[in-house]
Symmetry: C2
Subunit: 212 residues, 2 copies
């Protein structure tokens, strides 16, 4: 299991500073949608320049214009692009093709994807599938005792990432889904001691307990 640090609602300078602080505890770095929409592709370039040795995920949330968005973010240094599973099939497929051409990867964000569409998406075996309990959904409901995505249908044989309000309190239930990637934002970026928060999460992830 990898720990992916999600950077959102901050300046590029703060993103760099936070990442430096927790660099040794995290595996992948996500340039959040909010950074991309606020500062543009420069946010990816700046992070690539500072952290050339980490996998960079550009949370592009592509819905259309897949070729152009792939070109923008991969040429800026991203290793992984996110595309919405709610986008038309041709958009998801174009992202997969554009990524493959460059030996890059695609994460398909399953936010609000219905159960009818899911099996079609799961045919893209080369993708990473992100179970995403969105920020807006988190604000709607009280903090869950267990991570709500735990009740998502089991996904067998695909690489999954899990995102959405994950903290040290919910990471154990998230682990039951056996994800390849656990995505954490505020629980690290808003912690008083960010390094400690990241280290505790990383340790919780590495210690798999009864799970395979």
């Amino acid at each position: 299991m990898h720990l992916q640090l999600a950077l959102d609602r901050m300046t590029i300078d703060t993103a760099i500073e936070v990442t430096k602080e927790v660099y040794n505890e995290i595996d992948w770095i996500e340039i959040g949608t909010s950074l991309i929409k606020e500062f543009g592709i420069e946010s990816i370039q700046a992070m690539k320049q500072e952290f050339p040795d980490k996998i960079l995920v550009a949370d592009m949330k592509t819905m259309d214009n897949a070729k152009y968005e792939c070109q923008l973010c991969f040429e800026a240094g991203a290793d992984v692009l996110t595309v919405m599973g709610a986008a038309p099939a041709i958009t998801v497929e174009t992202c997969l093709n554009e990524a493959a051409k460059r030996k890059k990867q695609v994460m398909i964000d399953l936010l609000n994807v219905n159960l009818e569409r899911l099996p079609q998406l799961l045919q893209y075996e080369e993708a990473i599938f992100c179970l995403h309990f969105s920020k807006d959904q988190q604000e709607l409901s009280a903090p869950p005792q267990q991570h709500p995505l735990l009740f998502f249908p089991a996904l067998e044989g695909v690489r999954i990432a899990v995102a959405g309000g994950i903290s040290i309190d919910t990471v154990e239930t998230v682990k039951r889904m056996n994800p390849s990637i656990v995505i954490v934002g505020s629980a690290i970026t808003k912690a008083v001691d960010k390094k400690k928060a990241a280290r505790e999460l990383k340790q919780a992830i590495l210690f798999r307990g009864d799970y395979k």
Copy 2:
């Protein structure tokens, strides 16, 4: 019917230049998703500064983080934000609330929205509904004789916008949907004589023929 100029896959300087050229022929200006993702919120600020008297549509394609994205784009000078109809209901509703607070507007992009979800979205009477045949979908199929969205179920009593590869050749069929807003990108921005292309489209829109 209003003509909305969509600006995509170009620099901010080119967007300003193109808009100046066709300024008198168009009604609303759309800062395309590609400009926002490439150059950030600066793209909205720059267009607002140059064109303070036109309605500015920020094609944010919001999927999450609605409050922050509304704040970003409305404070930068946007008058209308787009949110994806495929987003969770809470995200659409937060955009509507944030816009209402500021006397701004929301355009709900119906791209890939299924017919089950549509009636729920249509309850948001204050919104503009964008029938969107996306760029990736356009590239998949041969140029249509008639605009494919013509076969979308009739939407009565709501304001609609129509977008997706609209040109002087397809604008007549688009008009049959009686839209409030006709969104045109490449047919203007890639024309040799942009002013002439915009004027012809504007005239085609204004002359409603048999349609009310």
